[in-house]
Symmetry: C3
């Protein structure tokens, strides 16, 4: 199934993936090539190991791989497939008569599908999920308990939303009239493409006038904030607690650490890597081809150099003080 060679028993039944420490005789484990043959003694009970050919001693069941972690993940997708819809509707599920739910979708207890919403084939709405008016879900989406879709949100196929995710809430836009903050209209759309996965309690605002958009294959961690009109490309990765302000663009294949903050109207070019806790100023363009870090973000090399010098500030200051003294002495000698 993986298209890889193996040694040992070809009929061994594998039931699960496991860590080395907890593997049993139906577990598949993996070992990153560490240039040594170690795991036989460390995990003698594992049924099979994914590892490089060089690191596997004879006599144990192994799948040979040049990318053990990757192939282990591929194998895990067979051993632990995502849940499949049972096509059932809990009696407490409330579906508006004007909603359209595919016959083979699964609706858990206390789920709600409002008027005009469409739920594609094989979707699973777990307990307490709320799908607002006019939402549109593709095929085989999984919405974990308590997910809320505001009206008009659009999901592609195989989108996974973890518990407590909110999609399509109002963006944060106000205009001050001298006495109070008037709401700038928040009436745009929000669209997540195929294979997007969003972590628990993350919030994604609808567009104010335009659309908030997340490209296919992009993965977002827990407690992330994505503001109105943000446009995120394909296959982007965004770690926990990062916040992205309005209208910022993050291009394909970018990798964003945790607790990063983006000002509005910034742009992160394709493939850029930004380290955790970094800050990107409003309107800033972060160019392709580098790793960035810091507040405000700088190329990692520069950040590291500045940080190293920063640590030596006391020494620099002492040097300056000593120089002042010396120069004063020299001046005095010269004046004599």
């Amino acid at each position: 199934m993986l298209g890889l060679e193996f040694q040992g028993e070809s009929t061994r039944l594998l039931r699960r993936v496991a860590a080395r420490e907890t593997a049993d005789d139906s577990s598949l484990i993996f070992v990153e090539d560490e240039g040594r043959k170690v795991f036989l003694s460390e995990a003698p009970q594992a049924a099979c190991v994914v590892a490089s050919r060089a690191s596997v001693p004879e006599g144990i069941n192994a799948i040979f791989s040049e990318h053990p972690k990757l192939d282990f993940s591929r194998a895990a997708a067979y051993l632990h497939p995502p849940p499949k819809s049972r096509g059932t509707r809990h009696p407490s599920a409330y579906v508006d008569p004007e909603a359209e739910v595919a016959d083979d979708a699964e609706l858990g207890p206390y789920t709600i599908v409002e008027a005009g919403a469409r739920i594609g084939g094989g979707c699973i709405l777990q307990a307490g999920v709320i799908v607002g008016r006019g939402c549109n879900l593709g095929k085989e989406c999984i919405l974990h308990p308590g997910v809320v879709l505001y009206p008009g949100a659009s999901l592609g196929d195989r989108v996974i939303l973890h518990a407590g995710v909110v999609i399509g809430c109002d963006g944060f836009g106000y205009v001050f009239d001298g006495r109070r903050h008037l709401k700038f209209p928040q009436v745009g759309g929000v669209a997540l493409e195929d294979d997007v996965e969003i972590g628990a309690n993350t919030t994604i605002d609808r567009g104010s006038l335009g659309t908030t958009h997340i490209g296919s294959g992009t993965k977002v961690d827990n407690l992330v904030q994505i503001a109105h009109n943000v446009d995120i490309g394909k296959h982007v990765v965004i770690a926990a607690q990062t916040g992205i302000s309005g209208s910022t663009v993050i291009e394909d294949f970018a990798v964003i650490g945790g607790q990063v903050g983006f000002g509005d109207h910034a742009r992160v070019e394709q493939g850029v890597i930004i380290g955790s806790k970094s800050g990107v100023l409003p309107g800033k363009i972060v160019r392709s081809g580098d790793v960035y870090w810091g507040v405000p973000v700088r190329p990692l090399r520069e950040y590291k150099r500045l940080n190293a010098i920063f640590s030596r500030l006391p020494e620099i200051k002492a040097g300056v003080d000593a120089l002042k003294k010396e120069v004063a002495e020299l001046r005095q000698k010269l004046q004599k």
Copy 2:
């Protein structure tokens, strides 16, 4: 309705606000004065534009405004009014016999109103909202799906709480007894005044002994944390993922960026602006009349100056190293 002059058809039907790019023949758009007449070609299909008189060419429908974004927002409030209660109660709504719900309030599916709670006229409780014992809601509040009010929370009129907001959870206070952390009592109140709007998944703790308080017209973004006994004034704006520690005071009209952190017992004076990702130390008083930035916060001018010099640290260090060498040489010459 807006009290503004206009040119063109006075009977044109406007149905929605839109961005220039997506406007159609029933859309209202706006253009900030850019000192040029551009939009006729850019959005020929828009029904009407809000713009300064100077920037509008003849022949198109326009509302003249010196503050186009503001007047556009005002117009949007007519075109997209907040939802009105339909006065319906979903059969699955659970209202305790000892709760008091106004006849014209709307209760969505699976909403819960506990004993002693009072819901004012025109309120909308969307699906799955939970209003705890003894809570008090004014008129025309909108609670989006899954909002949780702990017992005793109090909301003024026209308060909007987005999905997943939690109001009145226990503050984070413990006293260490040498072996374990004992809970300091968290039995105070929490009160939000009129026209407050709170973003999705934001959490606001109840007071420990006193009350956590948010003044009228204040707007809070998503995923913000407001701790016990915090006192926020009127018409304050707080962006996403900011955290405010216990007993801190934020006075009227302050503007707080995203991912800012406040230590406890700090005070932010009236009208202060604090930039994103800043940090305010416990007990710190941030004085009126300035913009602040950084960790710990400094006046923006100072922050910028320090940051500029920080970027030049390598140069400064090189300068110091060169000076040391030169001074050593001078000294040698002198000693000859």
Copy 3:
């Protein structure tokens, strides 16, 4: 009950704890020893005060304590005990036939207990709580409204989870195959020991292969992110909006401020204190016996010194510039 001496009426009925400002004649208040006798005039109406013997004037009811805040908290636990299960099941509570719920547990409206889950004696599941398949809850846990436990989560006794908490969601782990991000398996467990309390909307991921673990007595604030395979010791305190990356270890009695970020595979040794907004690099070991602050974290003394010098950078730079000029002058004089 507290084992402390007192003066005044021994039969006075106390009904509540209060702040000095809001105390009435059935309120218990406390005063930290401020070396002065002040509160008689400040809170004349309080029924009783917990304070040091030295600070209490005669004639008022007082409980003498050397640790007033601690003993006040102990007293509060009697006056405001945690809610007790009423042993009721709301008719809308859904319990799978294969779940096991103790007779004296309380299930609120629209709660869900899935197959194979076990709920111990005296537990309270408030409205809308969802307990996934095979979860295991000890005795007297309190799950506030909207809490979600993914399948297989395990809670000890007296665990408190505030509204919107998500336990056991998938960790954030992917392997890039050159074209897209494949999910690394997230099939491990998550276990919270006795007396853990977790703040509103906090998210705790399940282990990828191993287990995410939180030791007994640990307290976590709102909106915290705890990633897969993190191991937190006993009696740790973690303030709001902190994020802890995968496999990081935090040992017993550590105290972590708000908005702190931890890279993966870091280790915080026993009793360490880390200030708010700090950043701990991946793999970093933070040693016992100190207070740490900053990004990246440094011992507090060092952080303060660097910060003080940082504030004086303009002065240092000006000093260097002046020195350059002076040295050039000296050189010229010497060359004459």
